[in-house]
């Protein structure tokens, strides 16, 4: 299929010749015949075999640059004409350049790219993070957790003001909870006080579950605290915080590659939005886990839902705002309480 270079023919066209030693521009004509090109004008008269040419790729308006073995080069204005001549020969444009010149391939690229982005975000990143998170040694989990806890202790949390007897009582209650599957990460309960974080509880990757005083006080009975404990145990069992960390790192890296030269702030902002979805998925997962645990222990999964409602009311009182479900689902790290209650409700039915 390849055209022999000896068949190529080009009527002499005008261009510039550079000798590679000085910056002088020679006005020359450039023609092709019999497998070689001829450059002549302003004292230059050279014949160079086409096999000795390195040809720059075609661009819309940029000059074509032909580089020769002896370091000299030629600049020719008409880019398209050369492409037509060289089409099918060894000197035609590279595969990638031809992709870039065709709008059809560009649109296909665009579609493929959207597909890769979507699939990677929806399935690829969570899959990779899950595989990786379960492979991490426990020492790594515990190092990260201790690091995080000491940072929080220094800045946002103080020692708990709960009576030691109350703490022991709760610890014993939690220790009596049976789990449907064997747990490979032992759980450890910590109590803290924090004016800043309010009524809250959270789990660290190494199995540490931190209860904040305000949350303990908010609970009407200990069963509600068991519900919270079961939810946090779900985060630990399914390695949510580790997976979240890995997922956000991957998303941040990908965004830096894509938007990096645009603006680091734009990258960080969209990263925040994209990671929120992952976080909501984990919350739902932990809710489902908690429902199973509660049922195993003869408790109603509704406990979690009703306590969530209580928590939401407490937070709203604190910030003085009214609940705005719906609109903020997409930027929120947790699903709306109504949505979570509905889901827990459906899980409560045997």
């Amino acid at each position: 299929m390849s055209t022999s270079v000896s068949d190529l023919f080009l009527e002499p066209v005008s261009g510039h010749y550079y000798d590679g030693r000085s910056s002088r521009a020679y006005n020359v004509t450039f023609g092709i015949r019999g497998g070689s090109c001829r450059i002549s004008g302003e004292g230059i008269d050279k014949t160079i075999p086409l096999s000795d040419i390195i040809l720059s790729e075609q661009l819309d308006k940029a000059y074509r640059i032909l580089r020769f073995g002896d370091g000299s080069s030629c600049e020719l204005p008409d880019s398209l004409q050369l492409s037509v001549i060289f089409e099918g020969s060894d000197l035609r444009d590279s595969f990638v350049n031809r992709l870039q010149r065709s709008w059809r391939w560009v649109i296909i690229s665009l579609l493929l790219l959207s597909l890769v982005f979507f699939a990677g975000y929806k399935w690829g990143v969570p899959f990779a993070a899950e595989k990786l998170a379960y492979r991490l040694p426990f020492t790594a989990l515990s190092m990260i957790s201790q690091q995080a806890l000491s940072t929080l202790d220094g800045r946002f949390m103080q020692p708990s003001k709960l009576a030691p007897e109350r703490q022991t009582q709760l610890r014993e209650r939690f220790a009596g909870i049976a789990f449907p599957q064997a747990r490979n990460i032992p759980l450890k309960i910590e109590f803290r006080e924090s004016a800043m974080l309010g009524a809250n509880a959270f789990a660290l990757p190494d199995g540490t579950i931190v209860f904040l005083d305000q949350l303990v006080q908010l609970a009407g009975n200990d069963d509600e605290l068991v519900a919270v404990y079961a939810h946090e145990a779900g985060h630990v069992a399914n390695r949510h915080s580790m997976r979240q960390l890995i997922q956000s790192s991957i998303v941040a890296l990908a965004l830096a590659a894509y938007l990096g030269d645009v603006s680091s702030l734009a990258g960080a902002m969209s990263g925040f939005l994209l990671q929120a979805k992952y976080s909501r998925d984990f919350e739902r997962d932990a809710d489902r886990y908690a429902a199973t645990v509660l049922r195993t222990n003869g408790l109603s999964p509704r406990l979690l839902g009703s306590f969530l409602k209580k928590l939401e009311q407490a937070h709203n009182r604190r910030s003085g705002s009214k609940s705005d479900d719906g609109v903020f689902d997409y930027i929120s790290s947790h699903p709306s309480t109504n949505e979570r209650m509905k889901e827990i409700e459906s899980l409560s039915k045997p």
Partner: protein, 375 residues
């Protein structure tokens, strides 16, 4: 210190795109307008294919993408009817990127797991940073040509270390007041060590000039900050003033809107201040640069650059990033349109620096170290 130095590399690189320069066809005293012939639509096609190939190869293609991108911008930049060309070897860029990725991974992992190790890695990275800057600049210039003549960079790693140690220390003990001196020294290091063929370029800016730009920028930023704050106050009052009185309690939606307006105002502020600094500094450096008998004149204006950057950022944001190629092309066009080259003796008399090319190719260590760190 690390962030500052990286910022400076970028500042230097953005100039070097148009560095180098040249000559007219005749030997007559002439003025040449730098021109850029690229278009957004054409660069979009290159960008999207580059992006796709980079992603599906998990980043391995990205050095080839960078070469294609650079070639596009170089070959579309013209002075006196002749275009620039880029000759970077993707292999060398890949090497540089692998090293850089490993360093970044070491930094972020040690930061997560072991704060003491993090300090050690950070120290190590700041130690090799001057080497990386010199390599990146050297790679960039050695692989840039105009009329078949390559540019050169003669800056040594020792020179870079001395500069960073001396002026870095001075900046540190004066709590940053002497930062303009470090900035000036870096510009001098980059321009005075650059060459087109055998002809070295020369920069003559006084410390007073550089301090002047910094001080003006500070006053400017205060003024702009006050104006934007007042404007934002009025806007907030207009939007929410009556609302919050009636409802009594602010809604969550209102907080989000206030947040969005505040971020937009801050971004606008940053764009204006940065444009002011960048245009003043670019003009100052070009106007005081000589290449043999050639002089340059740059007449960028802060308000032009700010409106280009602001509108581009907005459109890029709205289109989820797809406007970016048009934005990038528009910026290059502006840089080219505002640069004039005066060549009283013409542009034909530059001579290729064959000697340092032979030296570079012959030395196997140099070959092995052919690494590009410029991002």
């Amino acid at each position: 210190m690390k962030a500052t130095a990286t910022g400076l590399i970028c500042a230097a690189c953005s100039d070097s795109t148009q560095f180098g320069i040249g000559a007219g066809t005749g030997a007559v005293a002439s003025t040449y307008q730098c021109e850029f012939t690229g278009s957004g639509g054409e660069y979009f096609r290159i960008w999207i294919v580059n992006l796709l190939l980079s992603i599906i190869t998990l980043g391995i293609y990205s050095p080839w993408a960078k070469v294609r991108k650079n070639r596009y911008f170089y070959r579309n930049t013209r002075v006196a009817g002749s275009s620039f060309d880029y000759h970077g070897n993707p292999g060398a860029i890949l090497k540089g990127r692998i090293i850089a990725v490993l360093l970044i991974a070491a930094l972020s992992l040690s930061k997560q797991f072991n704060p003491k190790l993090y300090v050690v890695v950070l120290l190590l990275v700041s130690l090799i940073l001057p080497w990386m800057i010199t390599r990146a600049f050297s790679f960039r210039l050695h692989n840039s040509s105009w009329r078949g003549i390559r540019m050169r960079f003669h800056g040594t790693v020792t020179g870079a270390y001395l500069m960073f140690l001396l002026y870095g220390f001075l900046t540190l003990i004066t709590l940053g007041i002497c930062f303009p001196l470090l900035y000036r020294q870096l510009r001098l290091f980059l321009v005075n060590n650059a060459a087109f063929g055998t002809t070295r370029s020369e920069l003559t800016i006084s410390s007073g000039d550089v301090f002047g730009v910094f001080i003006k920028t500070i006053f400017m930023s205060i003024g702009v900050g006050i104006v934007i704050s007042i404007a934002m106050g009025f806007l907030m009052n207009l939007l929410f003033g009556s609302l919050s009185l009636k409802a009594g309690r602010p809604s969550q939606a209102m907080f989000v809107w206030i947040g969005i307006i505040a971020i937009a105002a801050y971004l606008l502020y940053r764009v204006i201040v940065q444009s002011f600094f960048r245009t003043r500094m670019t003009n100052l450096v070009w106007d005081h640069t000589r290449l043999g008998t050639i002089r340059f004149e740059s007449h960028q204006r802060a308000r032009d650059l700010a409106s280009i950057i602001a509108s581009n950022a907005l459109l890029t944001f709205i289109t989820l990033g797809f406007y970016w190629p048009w934005a990038r092309v528009q910026l290059s066009k502006y840089y080219a349109d505002t640069l004039l080259v005066y060549a009283p003796d013409g542009l034909n008399s530059f001579v290729a620096d064959v000697e340092s090319a032979v030296a570079a190719a012959g030395d196997e260590i140099t070959e092995a170290l052919d690494v590009d760190f410029g991002f």
